[in-house]
Symmetry: C2
Subunit: 262 residues, 2 copies
């Protein structure tokens, strides 16, 4: 990897970047508000005609003062342009509104990370996730997952699945080449990968290894799909070396295990 070998910015670009970083949380919240309050949507619907401030206020039914502050922020951030009093959405605005990866990342940042990140420096010094207190008393977020507020849980799994789902169709033919009879799905999460396997091969047996909260969610999903007879659920904390895996599987697979542990 040699992405990061050179400082490619001029001094002017670097100070612009430093200022952008300095106001980044405000940039983020203003962009999220432009998206979630329907302002970008109204501008997209207006197509090349664009909208005046008064028209945006009328279409969104929002107070004029707040809309004015937001669209002015949108100009600085680069989500909007302004010509003779008419606002248009830029390409960046289009991606904030419509790109699935951007949407999934923004929701995850806001609903899961934003508040907890406030104490990042304490987390680094104490080598523990101090910001997790936002959601209660947990040792790791994995134990908290099944108990998060609905919006945070939804944004977590949308983020998680977005990055793993794309790999499933690519790995299934490789995994099933040698007709495995029994696969361990380490950190099987909500059962998405196990369900794919159960659907791919009507003979295969699957065992999901995860924390109890995740196993409960997986069990519900697999039951709903009618595959419960070929699925086993093994409670384990993978970070605890004293807990052993079940024996006798043909394949041990980590379908959704994140590389984020010290």
């Amino acid at each position: 990897m040699n992405f990061f070998e050179k400082d490619t910015k001029t001094a002017m670009e670097a100070i612009k970047s430093a200022q952008w970083i300095a106001f980044a949380p405000i940039v983020f919240q203003a962009s999220l508000a432009l998206r979630d309050l329907g302002i970008l949507e109204a501008l997209e619907a207006a197509k090349t005609d664009g909208l005046t401030l008064a028209q945006i206020v009328e279409k969104t039914k929002l107070p004029e003062y707040g809309v004015r502050v937001l669209v002015e922020a949108g100009l600085g951030i680069g989500l909007l342009t302004l010509n003779n009093g008419v606002y248009h959405m830029t390409k960046t605005g289009y991606f904030i509104l419509n790109d699935t990866m951007t949407k999934v990342n923004m929701d995850f940042t806001q609903d899961v990370c934003y508040e907890g990140m406030f104490t990042l420096q304490d987390s680094i010094k104490q080598t523990k996730p101090t910001g997790l207190e936002v959601f209660g008393k947990w040792k790791t977020v994995y134990e908290a997952l099944a108990h998060l507020p609905p919006k945070a849980q939804q944004s977590w799994f949308a983020f998680d699945h977005f990055y793993s789902d794309g790999s499933f169709p690519q790995v299934l033919p490789i995994l099933f080449k040698h007709k495995p009879k029994h696969i361990l799905d380490i950190g099987g999460n909500t059962g998405k990968f196990t369900l794919k396997c159960l659907g791919y091969d009507p003979e295969v047996k699957m065992t999901i290894l995860d924390l109890p909260g995740q196993l409960n969610m997986a069990k519900k999903n697999i039951e709903a799909a009618g595959h419960i007879k070929r699925a086993n659920f093994h409670e384990i904390n993978i970070l605890d070396d004293s807990q052993k895996f079940p024996k006798g599987a043909d394949i041990i697979w980590m379908s959704q295990f994140l590389d984020c542990f010290s």
Copy 2:
């Protein structure tokens, strides 16, 4: 003003910008941690030699895992480069560490705005600063100012003064050209501008108009400077039209009044 007429980004630049926005609060907190935990400082001191991960850990006395996560974030954000295992600081890193405006802006964003910005959408809809609850029950931040936690107060005034101080030497000769005997300093804040005037002309009398919390701070500062005899303090809420200004001044001046009211 025609800064914002054109969408100047290509689609590739726009999606990169959208992703940057999506993770902006994390970019911000990681940059702040690299600054405040002494990592950028250690890299600056190492000059062109740079530092390995082990050397950064040794110099900062921080846990290795946290340092590794932060320097990897620093590569992505563009604050650091990596060559054969050796980290160096980029120009952007230099500005984050050393540029006064960047420092003042980052402290203000973190200490005053970060937590409150979480509820921006509610503020827009309700036309009131809902995020201010972080600091207690206040109608506006101006009433809260004298009661903020010390760090938040310090960052607020550093931000405020940074943007007003530079104008003082430029406006004083203009203001005093006609030898005013009495100046009203509207929203006089901590008394910085009034003190400049009292120092500039040993005859002038000043009256600061502000909320009681600010007047108390100003009084202390002006007393400490030995100028209290020529200073008056007039309690007023400028946003309340029924409250009148004192009469008989030669100049009415808004030294530090922010343009941020609906």
